[in-house]
Amino acid sequence: MQSFAQFIATLILSILLFSAHAQESCTYQMTGYVIDDHDRSPLSDSKIYLKNSKMEVFADSNGYYVFTGLCAGTYTFYCKHFGCDVVTQTVTISGNTVQNFYPEHHVEFEDVEVVATKLEEEMSLGTRELSDKERNEIKGLSLGDGLTKLNGVTKLSAGNNSSKPVIHGLHSNRILILNNGVRQEGQQWGNEHAPEIDPFIADELAVVKGANSVRYGPDAIGGVILVNPKELRKTPGIGGELNLVGLTNGRQGIVSATLNGNFSKLTPLRWRVQGTLKRGGNVHSPDYFLKNTGSREYNFSYGVGYLKQKYGVDLFYSQFNTDIGIFSAAHFGNLTDLQQAFEAEQPLESANFTYAIDRPRQHIEHELFRTKAYLVTGPRGKLSATYARQYNKRLEYDKDPPLNDSLANLNLPALQFELTTHTGELIWEHSRMKSFNGSVGITGIHQGNTYEGRFFIPNFRKMGAGIFWIENWRSKTKRLEIESGVRFDNIYQRIYMWQGDSIISPAQNFMNVSGTLGAIYKPSDQFVLRSNIGTAWRPPNVNELYSNGLHHGAASIEKGDSTLVTEKALNFSVSAEYTGKKLSVVFDGYYKIINDFIYLKPTLVPTLTIKGAFPTFIFDQVNAHLRGFDLTVNYSITPEFKVISKASILRAFNQTNNNHLVMMPADRFENSLEYTFKDGKKYTNAYVSLAVLSVLKQTRVPANSDFAAPPEGYTLLSFSAGIDLPIKTNAITLGVSVNNLLNTRYRDYMNRFRYFTDEMGRNISVRVTVPFTLFNPSTSHK
């Protein structure tokens, strides 16, 4: 009933917004030339755009541009030309206006290929990116928490220290994270194993919703998350950025700094160094502290590139290290303990504030080394090769050390995994030849996993190879694009495990062909329609095949099934984007048919152990259908006032057993009101916003699949404000946010600790970003 009312409210709001839109009139235009500051030559194809808006135009071959449909007011325009720094200009529009832009065009950088993995220019799958403002607001949060700003992306968490991104209800091995263009390979099968990435590395955070196996290989059933760092510095000099973040809940402090440089004597040589330190203590729910929920994190990365017009090589290295406390009261010995913890009003273990991290705890390290080289082949082609090595180490310490003193003194983790992954990619891309552009490539992966301590997943070795070909056709009018691709993969996997006193090592082979077909149609400059049919797949993971034991975090016995077959998905997606002067709408709809969907099925017979009887789950395969949509409506009532409404709906069904799928996010709605101040002499981009998030109770759950019924729905209020203070060519950015403003008591269905504790209470974050220049050759020469 509540959900219906909410839906109607959203619908009415949308209708109101549409009708209001018909009445506005913004008819002023701004025209001018984009001219090279050095030699006064016109710069064609320059992009002139407004920050945080979708309005943009391109200069013609004479460098001339026309920006139409402007309302009266003060705007900050940006002008971007390839190989130049972005030029910023604040213009007051009170009639038709003439404004020229003078970017500084550095001849050396002309046509230098972009080395970092950029988003495809257009894709038939909807790609949604966090705006600069949103990226500022999530500073200090983990990757999983931050990405929930994107409509359709939620999180699966195990307390405050572990949250995993969920795209359209799918997570873990069903989504792929591309960190700097490389498949992130950690122990992602674990529900409480969060991605090992420092979000401060990212200059671009985006999500491709929908199956995308053709370009990225197996696992991309739910979607792909792109984490890309800033391009290496193109202009000579040394500069950087300092970020300071403080959060009241858990008294967290974060310092992150980036330093980038370009040697003026050797301009193609560019570098960047970056590091982050983070520390937090016990977090607080509205009524009590959560014992042992502190965290520590220390990360660093560097990048070096020697990038010329015809060839180049760059390398990137990053290290992620974290120590996290696991909420003590979420650890229990058997079902009776769980029942007791669940029935308690407050967690059975109380605590005060401390930064100390005690048992149970985890220590996680992730290391990425990547190198990429490119070579321009002829006028239209480019060959690039990438090699990456990742090393992931995960140590898990139980709540109690061993009883035996000599064992306890060793202080060894109860469980340790080490995963080493090598990936390689060779791709040849061609830009538009007649109407076609495309790419063809081969990829390879080699992976080895070893464990020490308690058995949970066996040692294994995995080798995979893939070959793909994608082409895109664009009509002469540039209104229609059709893309199509095909891929073949083969994965070989061999495991090594003890059976009694001997080691067994069965091997398995998985083969699959995937395909994609999509279209992009732009009936007008305001409208983009996309549709895509694609297949995706993933081989069963080792834990699904061979795990056999007590899951200490879940009070259940999990049994793998070595006869599981490949999971295959057919994904239909449709998206529509409308960008008007006052109104913009983004709609992403999807229908996924997943055959042999692997899930944990409860069995009726509990397993009797020396710790009592435990419910037993086995990995089983069914046919699943997931369908839903994400809708974002953005309406400017006045140039200052904006209303943003978001809705995300998902229905997930087990077709085989005619039942719902367990652990799927509930419907959610978010409405926010934002006021943007007119740019003044001393400040720009100042705003305040207030948001209301409503998450409904998840009522679509199968019976007997969980220890307790899903928690009630909840409504949270949050506040956010930000301002840019210009200094010379840059600006200091200040921001403040308050999450859970009213200190609401609530529990979320997608948090595995919901049995034991309320979610975090009010959390205020204060953020400062200071850009700085250490050395600028152009000023020092003068």
């Binding site: 193609p268 040589l269 560097y302 070096v304 020697y306 090589v313 390398l315 290295y317 650890h331 229990f332 010995g333 058997n334 009776t336 303990d337 059975l348 390290e365 290391e367 080394f369 190198t371 090595r389 090393y391 180490k393 709540k399 109690d400 061993p402 009883l403 035996n404 003193d405 064992l407 060894l412 109860a414 080490e418 080493t420 992976q447 080895g448 996993n449 070893t450 020490e452 301590g453 308690r454 058995f455 066996p458 040692n459 070795r461 090594y496 080691i503 090592s505 056999n548 034991g549 007590l550 016995i557 999990e558 049994k559 397993t607 009797l608 152990t609 020396i610 710790k611 009592g612 435990f614």
Partner: protein, 191 residues
């Protein structure tokens, strides 16, 4: 000539940088181990609980009752799960023996529990009216339960649940606090 020198210098610089970065940055690579390490660090597993009953009067024969799950939780199921069969109208002294049989020789875990007796408590839940169970040992302040006295009356059938609670710093003599380390319910027959 000069240009080519410059180019090769640059190339050399880049290649050098790549090598230095690649060599300096990588941690230990463990993925060449094809065989899992032996289970030395398997940790502690309670596999076996044995109850040793002796007649306080020395008349009736001793009774030994065992629950054993040789590979610990999960994996294969238990292989021994005895019924407690006691003679009527007898007073037994009972002591609990805990073993970890994943190691060779088996490790006596009751010794470890005894060493940390101020953190442990055995709790007995008895459904038989004709049986009473009393803990007879102490950690100095509270009872422990490794040793107990079972006073048996007339013939009757029921169950006895034996739970070991781990109560570090929170032991108060009751069964409420702490985490469960052991929980076995034995079918019990008084003959």
């Amino acid at each position: 000539m000069k240009t080519s020198m410059k180019t090769s210098m640059k190339t050399f610089a880049v290649v050098g940088l790549v090598c230095v970065a690649a060599l300096s940055s990588c941690k230990k690579d463990d993925d060449l181990i094809t065989v899992p390490p032996p289970v030395t660090n398997e940790g502690e597993v309670l596999t076996t609980m044995t109850l040793l009953f002796t007649d306080a009067a020395g008349v009736q024969p001793d009774v030994t009752v065992t629950f054993r799950d040789p590979d610990g939780d999960g994996g294969l199921s238990y292989d021994i799960f005895d019924t407690i069969r006691l003679m009527n109208n007898t007073v037994y002294n009972m002591s609990i023996l805990l073993l970890n049989e994943t190691t060779n020789p088996a490790e006596n875990m009751s010794v470890e529990v005894l060493e940390e007796d101020h953190e442990h408590l055995f709790c007995f839940t008895n459904s038989l009216a004709n049986l009473s169970i009393l803990r007879t040992d102490t950690d100095g302040t509270y009872e422990v339960g490794l040793q107990s006295q079972w006073t048996v009356g007339n013939a009757q059938n029921g169950t006895v649940q034996i739970v070991l609670k781990h109560q570090p710093g929170i032991k108060n003599g009751t069964c409420d606090p702490g985490e469960t380390d052991l929980d076995v319910t034995f079918v019990t027959e008084i003959q």
